[in-house]
């Protein structure tokens, strides 16, 4: 048993889980074309969830802050991006991938800028007064989430808001009898690029070293002469911007959004963070991909279990590894 465990550890350990889930799903689904479509959809969903969850995970790991208001950045990111796309409708519909790309980039940039500014405001005004007080953090951030949702309702109304998609991301690639939706492949590629960037920042720069150390032992980082509270503002702003970008990408994925979008996604985002292990970017990615794959496979195989699948996954993983798959602290 221990030999098997050592061998699996050498081959990648918990990183093999998504492959194991995909392999089991392949056997259960039977049809390879459906399996490929579901796998791509699961990976795309996982990458978008990763963007939304990574900031939350770092914020919790670094400052022990429970931010239930994180969903506000997702919702605002989605609506701001959709509004910019609506304003640039001409570019969006043009038969030019350059104009399409510019419209998409502008919408994402607007969401990211909003996330940065709103993240700074949120941390300074709402979070800072309640450091080290979990009960007040929960109350005040849930309050902020409700205010944000109502603000969106006031500005954009309660009816579902339609989101435009760039022309070049419409449709599917057909390879044999396999259909791959282009937007999903794009979401996966963009999410993977953001992950690589984050990974490099965290593992190849001094600021990344400080963040990783701060997640593990904030007090000791301060005793070495670094102001973790100042570092935290930057991490909070980055996390908020990533959540807004995730919301913007999710808006394009769903194409019809409501003010409750962020709150609805928050449960899944929290599951991702808990499964992955608090404060760990690699863990968050692993958790997000697992959740994305499970949601799609179970949705196909047993639709009635789709809602419960991620809860079951979380319970199973926590029974096996109470600190998550790849916790930041060993």
């Amino acid at each position: 048993m221990s030999t098997l465990s050592t061998t699996l550890g050498r081959m990648g350990g918990v990183n093999l889980l998504p492959f194991a889930v995909a392999a089991v799903a392949f056997l259960l689904i039977g049809a390879p074309s459906s399996w490929v479509t579901l796998t791509v959809a699961g990976l795309a969903m996982g990458m978008m969830l990763f963007l939304m969850a990574s900031g939350l995970s770092l914020v919790f790991g670094l400052m022990d802050v429970l931010n239930f208001g994180h969903s506000a950045f997702v919702s605002f990111g989605a609506f701001i991006s959709a509004t910019v796309l609506a304003g640039l409708g001409g570019w969006l519909a043009a038969d030019s991938w350059v104009l399409n790309s510019l419209a998409l980039a502008a919408s994402y940039l607007a969401a990211i800028c909003f996330g940065l500014v709103a993240g700074w405001f949120f941390e300074t005004v709402i979070i800072r007064p309640v450091y080290r007080d979990h009960l007040r953090q929960i109350l005040i951030t849930i309050g902020a989430m409700i205010v944000a949702e109502q603000t969106i309702l006031a500005f954009w109304g309660g009816t579902p808001y339609s989101v435009g998609r760039p022309h070049f991301l419409e449709g599917s690639w057909i390879i044999g009898d396999v259909s791959i939706e282009i937007y999903r492949a794009f979401a996966f590629a963009l999410g993977a690029a953001v992950f690589v960037m984050l990974y490099l920042v965290l593992n190849r720069t001094r600021i990344g070293l400080l963040i990783r150390a701060g997640v593990e032992n904030r007090e000791m980082v301060e005793a070495l002469g670094f102001r973790v509270d100042r570092l935290f503002i930057g991490v909070f702003m980055l996390g908020s911007a990533l959540a807004a970008l995730g919301g913007a990408m999710w808006a394009g994925y769903e194409t019809l959004i409501t003010p409750a979008l962020g709150a609805e996604l928050m449960i899944v985002v929290f599951i991702v963070v808990i499964i992955g292990g608090l404060g760990s970017i690699e863990g968050t990615l692993l958790g997000a991909i697992l959740v994305g794959l499970m949601a799609n496979y179970v949705g196909f195989l047993a639709p009635k279990l789709a809602l419960a699948s991620n809860m079951i996954l979380m319970v199973a993983i926590l029974l096996w590894r109470p600190n998550g798959l790849r916790p930041a602290v060993k």
Partner: protein, 234 residues
């Protein structure tokens, strides 16, 4: 003039008063040892000096400057390093990453690194290993190495021999002797023989109060005093 001066320091943790009246002076150079029974307030004293808990009332002066209300990071930047009881190493970071984090510039001074590797050869052998995989003694070496990777004026060290094998304790004593030639050490220690072998000056803390202060030589020679304050001769 003393390097560090604590005056009537009182520290509460939550609703509990841990330090009631702590005053002592740490002269520049050598090892100053803070002795006391379990729960006497030694660790709280070090943490209060570092600003990790705020003393009120009372004051802490370092090199003539009042640091009582300063942020921990600002205190550290004045040249005070802290080696906590739990070692405080970053387990997911490599040995070298732990060390480089403690440098102000983000690069190693090669001479200092060589000195550290000479003091603690295991840290050179395992420099690319994640710190959680080190043994207890190696972790303690890393924690001390991190404190001396840059020039410091004062190092606060909390019970460095706790749980270590005798051979590691001897190596640690040698290392402290060398470090003390250039840096002042404030050492909290329960192992009296270890403390006696290193200390020049000392204070005893009991129930949050300093009950004795003086030279280590005089204290080591007075078994009645040791028995009174530490219960050692029983």
């Amino acid at each position: 003039m003393s390097l560090l001066s604590l005056r009537h320091m009182k520290t509460d943790i939550g609703q509990y008063a841990v330090l009631h009246d702590v005053s002592f002076e740490v002269p520049e150079g050598g090892v100053f040892v803070l002795l006391g029974r379990n729960g006497a307030g030694k660790t709280t004293t070090l943490r209060s000096i570092m600003g990790l808990w705020s003393p009120s009332p009372g004051s802490v002066h370092f090199d003539g400057r009042d640091i009582t209300a300063m942020h921990t990071a600002d205190i550290a930047r004045l040249g005070i390093a802290y080696v906590p009881e739990n070692m405080g190493i970053f387990g997911t970071l490599t040995v070298d990453e732990n060390l480089i984090l403690a440098t102000g510039s983000g690069t190693f001074d090669k001479a200092r690194l060589a000195r550290i590797h000479a003091l603690f050869p295991a840290l050179e052998r395992f420099r690319d290993k994640q710190a959680w995989s080190l043994s207890g003694g190696q972790k303690q070496m890393l924690s001390v190495a991190r404190a001396i990777i840059e020039p410091r004026a004062l190092i606060l060290i909390d019970e460095p021999t706790k749980g270590l094998a005798p051979s590691i304790v001897d190596a640690m004593a040698e290392a402290f002797r060398e470090i003390a030639q250039t840096t002042t050490i404030l050492l909290v220690e329960q192992n009296f023989n270890f403390a006696r072998s290193l200390g020049r000056d000392m204070a005893v803390i009991d129930d949050g109060r300093v009950v004795h202060a003086g030279s280590m030589e005089a204290f080591a020679a007075d078994t009645a005093l040791q028995d009174k304050h530490l219960g050692l001769s029983a």
